[in-house]
């Protein structure tokens, strides 16, 4: 087979269906990544227009441009869209598109999950967009503090749009994070050990783990607030044992790491592009990775610095203030590693480099004002003023938008195969840079002069007129620059001006694909033994196209790739991906129906939608797998490997583990909330306790034992060639027993609407019951699979996933019972 024939075959195998309709069924990361990016930039545009409205409103005193009702929606939606519908999805899109290419493989671990995430983002975003167009958008500020956002003070549907829409969108963040983690750990080119991984992959690995542990507190908070609004469960109402501070803790437990979730991928971009711009390699690769990890860990210990004015005790203030200034250390390690890289090489002022310089100037200033607001007495003055708004834009625009623009100019030729023809970019950069600094430098001073954030107008006597006008003019210069970038991208797409291959002379593998990468990325997979494979072997692209790597001979119509050992990158498994399907979009639509039912308060539809989700999820996994053993499959280069259905740790096992990391963080946040209310909220201890019951404990004990032993028996039996159905049935019975015990427990609990205590117990119990149902469904699914002949002693992978979930479901049942009964027993 020659290179062209191979290209044709692989294209037929990997492409989405022709035409625009193909987008609805595509699962290929090349499509999904670009879909994410285009949608994210659309929201950047919308949120940018809202920013212009804000600056227009504040340009003059006594502005009658928008009344406070509308203005509150404008700034809330600006912040919300920028953070949730632009920044995070743009990162996801970029990583989905680039990671497989950089890692030298053909797709991410779970192609359908990526597509599902996109459609959740699409529908969830559409919900918020509709609210904006109808003038019923969220208006409580992007951090949505109750009680202002509770039913009493925000009776309208506005807040529900936020809570439900954002939670819906966050499904895409969680699924992308699971997908990235598993892909980076296991789906790399053969030979690419962790220490040879491109630096961007390291940053994305850290970011993904942060999403898995950072987003669940927000998701939990949103669920609790929506439960309060819809069913009257009083988590945040102080009269009924709730506490509005709980929301602040949950929100900032998410909100602070969020800033680093946005910054770290951007830092990964800088670490990738900057050395190329200086024709050298990154200085201190190991230390940069260590700094990113340190930053991630530290960032989880800082959330309280957003709450310095809420009356935190003195010791707490000192601790969180010290910890907050400490993040400057790993940040400065990275900054100086980058500058050292410039010194090491021969930097050139090409367009991506300009944006990186813009990043340096802006981000360093933002970091310094960040250190300032970490000093408590200073924060007490500037908190909730325009100073903080200015600071946060220095960090977010400097730390994210500039690197993103650098990335855009750097990788656009790869994605289109074209080079820039018109030279608008330099002018656009100048406008953006000048406009940005005029806008936000001015806002620092407005803040120091006492201008609060989120005010819709001010009077001439306040003395802020000139400074606001300057800031608004800067804002429009900035917007003009951004529009020029847009124009240049459009021109880029219209004007054919072929780019030379690897035009920046980079060393990473994405430049070894054809420019305008084919759907399959690599005709054959490279063997890597250098951090910059393309620098070590400039001939690599041609050799891969000739099929000299792994999997060079297409096999039927299967989408194939390799999974490798986590640390060393030794090839371990042969992977077959699912092809194009409408399942992701349909599943996302039914998931959306669930959220829509809650939003419009047609509550009876919600359980139906849940059942729909379960049915589709069943179908989702059912279509995988085979009814006969495959044995070792030849993957080229003289190597034969088992396929993923015939291993002990299949991709589903890895995905389950990392999904459960997020799930456990959600559960941990719930326990944190319980303990917080118990110790801090006024109105505790509750007026009425749950009645502990020995029967519940006994039933749950049996259930937990079965859900741990059952999967174990099933695995053993299957390996020994006998029928695993008995073990699976035990597991099913165990889950049923746990569910029954928890239902019984809840029947003996005080009313969930009377006090936050009862409400918390209901959520705890409900969480356990939900998991018992999920585990039961899995066991039932496996029984059906065994009967349909999808398992064998070799095809054991599916059964291997059940023990993980069984143990988790049993473990949380124990913790839930302890949390419910222990305090009663002790008091």
């Amino acid at each position: 087979m020659n290179a062209l024939a191979r290209h044709r075959r692989l294209t037929a195998i990997w492409s989405s269906r022709p035409g625009w309709k193909g987008l609805f069924s595509t699962v290929n990361h090349n499509d999904v990544g670009l879909m994410f990016l285009v949608t994210a930039f659309f929201y950047f545009f919308v949120a940018g227009v809202l920013a212009m409205l804000i600056r227009a409103q504040l340009a003059t005193p006594h502005s009658a441009f928008a009344g406070p009702e509308i203005y509150n929606q404008i700034f809330t939606m600006h912040g919300t869209l920028m953070m949730f519908l632009f920044a995070i999805p743009a990162i996801e899109g970029m990583a989905i598109y680039l990671l497989p290419k950089m890692l030298g493989t053909r797709d991410l671990a779970y192609p359908r999950l990526g597509a599902y995430g996109y459609w959740c983002y699409f529908f969830g975003g559409a919900m918020l967009l509709v609210s904006l167009l109808l003038g019923i958008a969220p208006d409580g500020g992007w951090f949505m503090y109750p009680p202002l956002t509770g039913k009493v003070y925000s009776p309208g549907i506005n807040t529900d749009f936020w809570l439900l829409g954002i939670t819906f969108v966050e499904i895409s963040a969680i699924s992308a994070a699971v997908e990235f983690t598993v892909s980076i750990l296991r789906y790399r080119a053969p030979g690419m050990s962790l220490s040879k991984m491109p630096i961007f992959a390291w940053y994305m690995l850290v970011t993904s783990l942060m999403i898995l542990t950072g987003f669940p507190p927000l998701i939990l908070g949103s669920i609790l607030l929506e439960l309060e609004r819809t069913f009257g469960l009083p988590f945040f109402q102080v009269e009924l044992g709730g506490d509005s501070l709980l929301w602040q803790h949950l929100f900032w437990l998410f909100g602070h790491p969020e800033v680093y979730i946005i910054f770290l991928p951007a830092a990964g971009v800088v670490s990738t592009i900057l050395p190329v711009m200086a024709s050298t390699t990154l200085l201190g690769y190991r230390y940069v990775v260590a700094a990113a990890v340190a930053l991630a860990i530290l960032s989880f210990g800082l959330w309280v610095h957003h709450m310095f004015t809420t009356g935190i005790p003195h010791m707490g203030l000192a601790f969180f203030s010290a910890a907050s200034t400490l993040v400057a250390v790993p940040t400065s390690v990275q900054v100086f590693a980058w500058i050292g890289t410039l010194w090491k090489g021969r930097p050139q002022l090409r367009l991506p480099m300009l944006h990186i310089l813009g990043f340096f100037a802006t981000f360093v200033i933002g970091g310094l004002t960040g250190v300032m607001v970490a000093v408590v007495p200073f924060d007490w003055q500037v908190h909730d003023t325009a100073f903080v708004t200015a600071h946060l834009h220095y960090v977010l625009f400097g730390g994210f938008v500039f690197p993103l623009l650098a990335a855009l100019y750097y990788w656009l030729p790869l994605a289109t195969g074209r080079a820039r023809f018109f030279r608008l970019g330099e002018v656009a950069f100048a406008l953006i840079f000048i406009g940005f600094h005029v806008t936000f430098l001015a806002m620092h001073f407005a803040g120091l002069m006492g201008q609060r954030r989120r005010i819709s107008t001010y009077s001439p006597e306040d003395g802020w007129t000139a400074i606001n006008l300057i800031s608004s003019i800067g804002g429009f210069i900035l917007a003009f620059g951004l529009v020029m970038v847009l124009i240049e991208v459009v021109l880029h797409l219209v004007v054919r001006h072929r780019a030379p291959r690897n035009l920046w002379r980079a060393g990473t593998l994405e430049w070894a694909t054809a420019m305008l990468p084919p759907a399959y990325n690599f005709a054959s997979l490279p063997e890597v033994d250098d951090r910059e494979p393309l620098r070590a072997d400039p001939d690599l692209p041609a050799r891969l196209a000739r099929g000299e790597g792994y999997l060079g001979e297409p096999n039927g119509m299967m989408r194939e790739t390799l999974a490798v050992d986590v640390a060393s990158g030794t090839p371990e498994h042969h992977v077959i991906y699912p092809g194009n399907t409408h399942l992701p979009i349909v599943l996302a639509a039914v998931t959306g129906l669930f959220f829509l039912a809650l939003l419009l308060k047609v509550l009876w539809v919600a359980p139906l939608a849940m059942i729909g989700v379960a049915v589709l999820a069943w179908r989702w996994v059912w279509v995988l797998g085979r009814r006969e053993d495959a044995g070792a499959v030849s993957v080229g280069c003289g190597l034969s490997l088992p396929t993923i259905a015939e291993v002990d740790r299949p991709p589903g096992w890895w995905g389950s583990v990392f999904l459960l990391v997020a799930d456990a963080t959600l559960f941990g946040s719930l326990l944190f909330g319980y303990a917080f209310l118990w110790t801090i909220a006024p109105g505790w201890p509750p007026p009425e306790w749950i009645a502990p019951s020995a029967i519940v404990v006994a039933l749950a004990g049996v259930g937990v034992a079965l859900s741990i032993i059952g999967p174990f028996f099933a695995t053993r039996a299957n390996a020994g060639g006998s029928n695993p159905a008995v073990g699976l049935a035990l597991s099913l019975a165990g889950s049923a027993a746990i569910a029954a015990a928890l239902v019984a427990m809840l029947m003996m609990a005080p009313s969930p609407t009377g006090h936050a205590y009862g409400a918390t117990l209901l959520v705890l119990g409900g969480y356990g019951i939900l998991h018992a149902i999920v585990v039961a469904l899995m066991a039932a699914f496996l029984i059906a699979r065994v009967r349909a002949g999808y398992t064998s002693p070799r095809r054991r992978a599916e059964i291997a996933i059940l023990p993980v979930w069984g143990a988790y479901g049993g473990g949380i049942a124990v913790v839930i019972l302890l949390a419910a009964y222990l305090p009663v027993a002790l008091s």
């Binding site: 503090y145 202002l148 250390v329 900054v335 500058i339 010194w343 930097p347 200033i365």
Partner: protein, 188 residues
């Protein structure tokens, strides 16, 4: 603080610009030791230690402390007005204006009747939130008699724009008049 920050920005900028300086080929320009350990780790460590010490000292000084002649007042926010009470004058309350003696430390016990607000008189102290169900105590002290503008500094819905109040610090005579319940004599 601003000067130090400015100096750091200039240092970073200078280092970046110097990277463009052409060098004779083969010259070694600082390795990991200088960039990572020297500038990356040691430099911020020293700066931050200084800053932190400074912050803690100031913070310590701002802490409410027991003193013999502290006056206690209550401040309750609701959308969109502040009500002030005076434990020394039972039954006495003022709306939108807080009366305090000049030159004497005052502890303001801050709370709210509805959503979260924040008590902020920029010239007297930093801000402290009014959180439902909690009482936060802020120490203020007006050295000179006079009128001080205060605002609520936590977004609280439509009406937030104009949500302000005033603190009137009285000279000793005026304060005595206020305490005796003779409000008209106490000059506003």
């Amino acid at each position: 603080m601003l000067a130090a920050a400015g100096a750091i920005v200039l240092l970073v900028a200078a280092l970046i610009v110097l990277a463009w300086r052409r060098q004779p080929a083969g010259a070694k320009r600082g390795g990991e030791r200088v960039w990572i350990f020297g500038l990356g780790l040691a430099f911020p460590a020293v700066v931050l230690a200084a800053l932190l010490g400074f912050g803690l000292v100031i913070g310590e000084r701002l802490m409410p402390r027991t003193a013999p002649d502290i006056l206690r007042v209550g401040a309750e926010a609701r959308r969109f007005a502040w009500t002030f009470t005076y434990p020394d004058l039972p039954g006495r309350r003022t709306d939108g204006v807080l009366h305090v003696p000049a030159g004497r430390p005052v502890d303001v016990a801050i709370t709210t009747a509805d959503v979260i607000h924040s008590f902020w008189v920029p010239r007297l102290a930093g801000k402290l939130d009014a959180v439902p169900g909690h009482v936060n105590v802020l120490r203020i002290e007006a050295e000179q008699p006079g009128t001080y503008q205060g605002v609520s500094a936590e977004f609280s819905g439509t009406g937030y724009d104009g949500f302000a109040f005033t603190v009137v610090a009285h000279a000793p005579d005026d304060w005595a008049a206020f305490m005796s319940g003779n409000e008209t004599e106490a000059r506003q």
